[in-house]
Symmetry: C2
Subunit: 371 residues, 2 copies
Amino acid sequence: MAITGLLLSLLIPFAAAKMAAQGPVVSPEVHADRTVTFRYRDPGAKKVELSLEGVDSIVMTKGANGVWTYTSEPLAPDIYGYNFIADGEARLDIHNPAVKPNLIWVGNMVTVPGNPAEPWEVQHVPHGELHRHFYKSGIIGDERDYFVYTPPGYRPNAGPKLPVLYLLHGYSDMANGWTAVGMAHVILDNLIATGKAKPMIIVMTLGYGVPGFASPIQSGFRDPNRTSRNFDLFRKALLEEVIPAVEHDYRASSTRANRAIAGLSMGGAETLFVGLNNLDKFAYVGAFSSGGLGGDFNADFPGFDGAKTNKALKHFWVSCGVSDGLITFNRNLVTWLKEKNATVDFHETSGRHAWMVWRRNLIEFSQLLFK
Amino acid sequence: MAITGLLLSLLIPFAAAKMAAQGPVVSPEVHADRTVTFRYRDPGAKKVELSLEGVDSIVMTKGANGVWTYTSEPLAPDIYGYNFIADGEARLDIHNPAVKPNLIWVGNMVTVPGNPAEPWEVQHVPHGELHRHFYKSGIIGDERDYFVYTPPGYRPNAGPKLPVLYLLHGYSDMANGWTAVGMAHVILDNLIATGKAKPMIIVMTLGYGVPGFASPIQSGFRDPNRTSRNFDLFRKALLEEVIPAVEHDYRASSTRANRAIAGLSMGGAETLFVGLNNLDKFAYVGAFSSGGLGGDFNADFPGFDGAKTNKALKHFWVSCGVSDGLITFNRNLVTWLKEKNATVDFHETSGRHAWMVWRRNLIEFSQLLFK
């Protein structure tokens, strides 16, 4: 069953012939010593930078063949987002199939593997499943989706009901943010395999209460009324549409003690808004690098009562990277919470406003749940 | 709950500040008259082309602001893949979150909507679900995944067993090809809603029998032994791992009459290889724009018997676009089949080697199944 070069060329789609004719560019190339070489072919560019997550922009070097390259120092094992910037224009690495889905800022990803493997790397352990649901929201009015992770060994018609973590993405992410970029399903597979996390269901729903809220043209946040509606309708859809559907379709516990809510950035703000204002619904609250609330906490959490909150929550987590522009907002939040006598487990971690921080947040937070 | 411009800027990831400072580029912009404007900012480029699926390369026009634009004629309602080509280099449209996942040729997509909506557009009908399974293949040796579509109203623990279509992607696609690009779940939702297709389960598994077979550096097809192993081990994993798992985990019929297999390009060749050589397993075979078999049909289908095939198959579909480089291969195949007295429903359609052809193939083929 052989194939000729001619036949192969017939399988190649539009635009690909030109790329092939120029010879392959390999990018990124992860070496055994954890250095990474990035390559971008652009003979006409005057300056090409690499914008690497967690690092400042790095100037690349042009080779005789028009390929700009940069080889890093050995990098800590992690998943790094990146873009190229050619003469000031952000570009994608067309040679890398690992694309970060995003409504506004599409980027690429490269994994520098650990030895032993890090919790976000696929390992030979039992795997859970991801289920994608589609529905028309009567509250928000659009066709939307949510993802449900069921842990290894979950059977739809047997076994005990499982606790549920509602896990919210950030501004500009889609419903697949926590899986495609955050690797939540891989992380939980690995933590469950070693007994570090309890088997749980994770629900990851689209985090906008207003269609088109995340737009490159006109950010929804610029309009306070729209921002307010975004939070209010998101909460309504979560509580009245998503949670009931999950508890109907899955062996999902509907008791307060078996529900947790957590999220990053805008999803962290939604977590605080939904969690602290609905203590009858959730026993665990985790806000990662939150941003998007206005800062008038008395207005955001009317009638907030620290003692009541302490009694209701089994764990209340707030975290932010010290190099994140939102660290001041989060410190102010924690100060306000403590003034109200709330007990809060505040983590000032290293890092910026980046997925490498949020994966680690999930790894730690998920191990605290349902124990 | 207001947010300041300052706070918004803190939510913006790396590389995005530069893009924002330059002002937004909107691309693609689909107008009410079905014309589409594509925009690509590259002040230094000498020539920028648009490579639009189903159309030849189109030269774009440079504006004073360094933005290259092209506005099409009114386009037929469809989903069009595209890339930009700047001075001969294929580029992605970083402003468009609709990315075509692919192991080798990543591209963008734009939907020109129909009125009424086309079958591949999300409509207000009951929706099925997509389930993503992860497993280590003992046969192939890697960690891999497959997707399962369950139709609207499917309940894991109630109702009759459903027929199953095994639907295979093409060379360089991933397991998500038929959903992320082919919109198979949307198509079936819409066909089932109008009673045109029977409710069915669709299984979309990773189509490689050899890890790394689809690589930009060294195509697996260049090595006949590797090609052969790719087909053999893919078949083994499908028959011995995927089908048993699906029939264990889902209310999936395991009778021959309720199993169909179809695929595109390399997946079409796999469909023929698996389907025609395993008549005890499938009652429907659909090969769309097949390519990847060597052309020695007597070797690929040893002992092929037209009469026996006619008796076993309820429908045997072969199709190819007349502008597809593989049309000759498919005509030769059909000639050979007819010489062997096989009954084959051969469709020479318009179009090239492109998803716009394969979505239409699925729309027609799925309506023939399980009736």
